[in-house]
Symmetry: C2
Subunit: 176 residues, 2 copies
DNA sequence: TTGACATAATTAGCTGGCTAATTATAATTC
DNA sequence: GAATTATAATTAGCCAGCTAATTATGTCAA
């Protein structure tokens, strides 16, 4: 997501803000810090999952299925919830089906539809992965108190609201 | 990075933590919230840059060059600082060179080496993009006070330290 | 001075995202 | 009830990452 490893020093930020007076140095600094840490956490999660032969995309599908009453959902619904295109979901399901973790069930009444069901093997896989994931995550967050977590969430809510401000305005550009 | 759009409700988290007692519900919740917001911020940044005909990878390269005294660096150094492989950096430089934003300068003394220089057009591009980026970011962070930013950074530092805990331990897995 | 190793950049080929087009089926409307 | 429109999933092809292999060059020690 953010690959940049060499975050700007105070000196660099000052240099840039001298040329670009619009810059809010502490905003830039916090923003980059956030992206850096989030990106590293995501990589750590990937590393954890890969020890179980999974990647994030497939893992989320298994979790979404487990959330359902009977472990069943539709590709279009899964795509929506997982935040990927339907085409990508087709690929994820292909992979999971190859490994026997989910199965396709063709609908007799509406032959356009296909249901996806978590198999026993899929549930077993989750039963291996989730305790490992939860244990690691618990340790990772151990140093952050409940109060800090609440504060943290509150700030994230504000940032999230600010994204509309980021998206809006500015509409130049042509070439490249 | 994190595509998952359907974050777990309290009920879902409780259901999962009943099956997996290792789960720390508030930790999971904060973790996912962090990844979700960071991911959306990154997408907003992409949207901003694409209005200027850039993508994050190339944009970071321009910025890294601008940080240098004479706007000059080496592909290997840029790859290191940008956090991408050298092969990827070759591709990024190819694209930037095609658009005339950087140029390759072949070293006469050590013919393995190539220097990359920010061109005048590259600097102009930055002079268009950066004010737009800084303005949007300022607005996005406007609701977060300096105190909150400090607090936020402090928590990020703790989380970052916790990543080692996340990476460590657990070493099962075979197939798939 | 030459053989082994080290270093720099690039190329080749893989993967998992994406969008757009396609296939199949259902629903609606004239 | 035939034609149009809508919906579901898939296929085809693009792109930007990656690793591993390759090409080219330099360095050092016997």
């Amino acid at each position: 997501m953010l690959q940049l490893r060499d975050l700007p020093s105070k000196a660099v930020l000052d240099k840039f803000s001298a040329r670009y007076p619009e810059a809010d140095v502490s905003a830039v600094s916090s923003f980059l810090h956030l992206l850096r840490v989030a990106s590293d956490l995501s990589l750590a999660l990937d590393a954890c999952l890969s020890q179980h032969g999974l990647l994030q995309g497939r893992w989320w599908v298994l979790i979404l299925l487990m959330r359902e009453e009977h472990g069943i959902s539709l590709p279009s619904v899964l795509a929506e919830k997982a935040g990927v295109s339907r085409a990508t979901m087709t690929g994820l399901i292909d992979g999971l089906e190859r490994n026997g973790l989910v199965e396709r069930i063709f609908d007799k009444d509406d032959r356009r539809r296909v249901s996806i069901r978590l198999t026993a093997a899929g549930q077993e896989k989750l039963d291996q992965v989730m305790p490992d994931y939860y244990t690691r995550l618990r340790q990772c967050m151990a140093a952050v108190s409940e109060e800090e977590r609440d504060l943290f969430n509150g700030i994230l809510v504000k940032l999230n609201a600010g994204i509309t401000a980021f998206d809006a305005s500015g509409n130049r550009h042509p070439d490249t």
